[in-house]
Symmetry: C2
Subunit: 548 residues, 2 copies
């Protein structure tokens, strides 16, 4: 018997080794081959079949059933264009490769071609809300078939579902057509606050790149654009009430954000289910205010001499007057319920060095921390009724009385202890500490492993975990401007996006980043590139088909 089998086994072995060799080299290419039509961030429940359809953008109908509104209409148009552009890549590929034969849809190994996808029916069951907000619902279901169906009770859920629908399409292996598999999805986010901070004070970022950033947020199902708009180095916010602030404090007259620009950003974000939370950081990070309003800043003293200007002056009327009206105006321009008042990194020694401030503290029995707390209390009182503050953790640490709705942004070391304290105190946390994009040594795969609820799991009562509202990646502006802000932010922020949307089993150690995740990240990065978002290569050698 062995003798009979031997030649057969030999042949098998030769075939095997030959195939093996070839498969080793047939794709010398990408370090992590991209997936095909897999969604980022990963949906909660997804059942995918091997049956597939092809895309013909001209005949694909996206039909809105039940409720409709301007946001939804524009979204439908947008996704039609996105699919049309995607299809353009396959068309262009056919030109470049001078491809002639008709597509051959072999049905093999359980893979069945089901024809051209006809329609997506969109069922929105509740009327649209005007603006996205903290408590917005983003749940949706999607089933992809000849007639596909997307359902949600909120327009924000529909937006998320449309994004998912668009991501399920993929290029065939020969790049000559666009396909989509019959799939059924049931999806919702694990955290309600999923954001990105962009600092436009340290380098100016053009309106164009801000809009691209918002495109990227919506592609990653993130819903907060935290706009750290001004800082020590420049004041690009062009106030109607205090135009000299930017006229004198911006880097250049061309490097400002006008009321119209802000409106454009807010509307653009609204259309994509993204909230815009402005931050006008006080009392520190305000040096640029001082060009127009030097008296709003504290004179710092050294050896009885003025050595420079420090934080806003906590006992000066100019500071309060400018601040009150500026906040009033900004709250008109930014409709979100939340308004970030900053409160981080105050040079308290400047305050105590100033004779007048020192005298004030003495008279009112305050130390510098209490003075900071008092200042922040005053500032928060400037917010109009219904506006809720977001603050950096220092404001909480210094014991300012904060409402339970206040968002406390944790950004410093020892974040676990800090979160435990805040949660036990019944407050809401937005986590950022380990998601600082300006640290280049952290790439997306290290961001990917962090989950704020897992960090404190077992260390606080389980019911408090829900008070971690979410997190934000932070793109501080020291070394980024128009040239590299998009490539440095994306796809690194996508890792944070998946963590916050998809979540993990936070009762366990997270597994290492898998090949599946890396492959999906490759596809997602390329997808961003194909939609004009210049995301950088995520993990190693590879390529992305974009015809410019």
């Amino acid at each position: 018997m062995a003798e009979i089998l031997l030649p057969f086994l030999c042949i098998l072995s030769i075939i095997w080794s030959y195939c093996c060799v070839l498969s080793y080299i047939v794709e010398p290419g990408p370090r992590f081959p991209p997936t095909k039509g897999k969604v980022w961030p990963e949906p909660q429940i997804e059942v995918k079949t091997q049956n597939f359809f092809t895309l013909c953008p001209v005949t694909l109908n996206i039909e809105v059933k039940e409720k409709n509104c301007d946001i939804l209409e524009r979204a439908v148009d947008r996704y039609k264009n996105i699919l049309n552009d995607f299809h353009g890549i396959s068309r262009k590929n056919r030109e470049v490769t001078k491809w002639r034969s008709r597509q051959n849809h072999k049905t093999s190994r359980g893979v069945t071609y089901r024809g051209i996808i006809h329609e997506l029916q969109v069922f929105l069951s509740e009327p649209c809300e005007e603006y996205p907000h903290f408590d917005m619902k983003e749940f949706y279901t999607l089933s992809v078939d000849t007639i596909s169906v997307l359902k949600s009770e909120s327009v924000w859920g529909i937006l998320r579902g449309l994004e998912t629908f668009s991501q399920l399409f993929y290029l065939s292996n020969d790049y000559n057509e666009i396909r989509i598999n019959a799939t059924s999805i049931h999806d919702y986010p694990q955290y309600q606050h999923r954001g990105l901070l962009l600092d436009t004070g340290r380098h100016y970022v053009s309106l164009n790149k801000i809009l691209t950033t918002i495109d990227a947020l919506s592609m990653n199902k993130m819903n907060v654009f935290h706009w750290h708009i001004v800082d020590d180095e420049s004041f690009p916010y062009q106030s109607d009430k205090f135009p000299t602030l930017s006229a004198m404090g911006a880097f250049h007259p061309s490097m400002v954000y006008t009321k119209d620009d802000i409106k454009k950003v807010v509307e653009y974000a609204r259309d994509r289910g993204v909230r815009v939370i402005p931050e006008i950081d006080v009392p520190a990070h305000t040096r640029s205010w001082g060009v127009a309003y030097p008296h709003a800043l504290t004179k710092c003293y050294k050896n009885n001499r003025i050595s420079g200007l420090g934080p806003l002056n906590p006992i000066n009327n100019v500071a309060y007057k400018v601040l009150r009206q500026l906040y009033e105006e900004a709250q008109e321009w930014f409709p979100d319920k939340y308004f970030h008042v900053g409160g981080d990194e105050v040079d308290l020694s400047c305050w105590s060095s100033n004779p007048e401030v020192y005298q004030y503290m003495k008279d009112h029995n305050l130390n510098t921390n209490k003075l900071h707390a008092l200042f922040m209390k005053n500032v928060i009182a400037f917010l109009k009724n219904g506006t809720v503050p977001a603050v950096w953790q220092e404001v909480y640490d210094e014991g300012v009385g904060l409402s339970k709705e206040t968002l406390i942004q944790v950004w410093k070391y020892h974040w676990i202890e800090e979160m435990i304290k805040i949660l036990n105190d019944g407050h809401l946390v937005v986590f950022s500490s380990s998601w600082y994009l300006d640290y280049l040594k952290f790439d997306w795969d290290s961001f990917y492993l962090d989950d704020p609820r897992r960090m404190v799991y077992g260390k606080v009562d389980n019911h408090l975990l829900g008070n971690i509202a979410g997190g934000e990646a932070c793109m501080w502006g020291e070394k980024v401007d128009d040239v590299n802000v998009i490539s440095r932010t994306w796809p690194r922020t996508s890792a944070v996006a998946e963590r916050l949307w998809s979540g993990i089993d936070y009762t366990k150690e997270p597994p290492p980043v898998s090949r599946e995740v890396r492959g999906r990240m490759e596809e997602h990065t390329c997808r961003m590139r194909q939609r004009g978002i210049g995301a950088q290569p995520p993990s190693g050698p590879g390529f992305c088909l974009v015809f410019s």
Copy 2:
């Protein structure tokens, strides 16, 4: 007396502190204010006066005296355009700021306005050479006055001088005009080989970005573009003799470099005094060859089974045949005397695992290192008469007999010991070890402190220091492609450029990076931006005026 002085001193003190405060805040802006019209890399000898001229690009005449040639004619046109574009920024600024009054050229504190600059006279004393080369002369002198004079005996020196001339122009403080100071310069490079390696095998880089890279090289007075054109992951070099190599081994049919593309790169570089040294790395880093020519690669064995394909097969005729003809062709397409044959990181264990290769080694009394040496010797013999190899250090380490002209590129750890060995052996060194741009933790200021001659100063005979021909920054392609290759390469490579052109006193510890250098780096980075090279912000908050 004291009583009389006291009020006076008080007033002085008040004025001082007020001024001081204002100067602290008047420019809240850049962390390191850019310099004005300072040159990068720094000229060897430069005497600058406070007398300045303004630029009117329409009337500025660049007049070639003595010798002329096509390279010089095109260079003159190019720099006229560069100055015209630069002037356009001041024009645009006047529009944006709605600036109305005439420029007021106050003469103060030794600063004298000398009117519009009339002419640059270019004196080239020797006929042009056809291509830049290893021994090319780059010395030039430049004096800037109403009639400015640029002199060199070589067209390459003239190119460097034109670049310097263009960099001496700067925007006035109000950005409304372009100025240049009366200056006299005497300049030449410290190292003759000043290069950048770009890897186009791990990600495809478009022709357009390669040309931008060459623009940047010439702005930084670098003279070598080391084109690591193919690697394991892809084979974008489109050979006429072996078209299947790229047809099957490139990432995509659109991601190749044709003969015409290569010609364009070589001509573009030639016009800018930049040599193009191609690298077709063997025997490792060749996996992509295996799609078309699997038999050219060595079958690696594990447990008596083929486990994959390894380096080129050192005892196989297919490998040698392809290699010989490929090198022959590439030497036609790349006119430089040097040709990089690679020779790094060979998986020697694959060779010894292969029964046939093993037998060959046994028969010829070779170990794997000697086999590698033999292979490289055979490969170098394929170079035509007059072509000189450049190699990675392993080739030297393994004792291949190399001519004294061979460039040995040092890239591994323990580089000091390696350089000492090579120098004492009478060979030429190109240094790269600490200039790997793919390590993001190293920013330009760490690159800036390294000087290869300083590293071995006192450890070899002084006359051998000249055998360190220069160095190359290496932009390996794992995580860069069109989206970020320019911003990640520049201005980080500019640090290497200054080190290699300007040199340092290598008998001493280098001083820390000064504010002057940082300011000059800011100006230079902005200058690159203004010429369409998307260099990233170098050191911190700031801005660069570019109107798109």
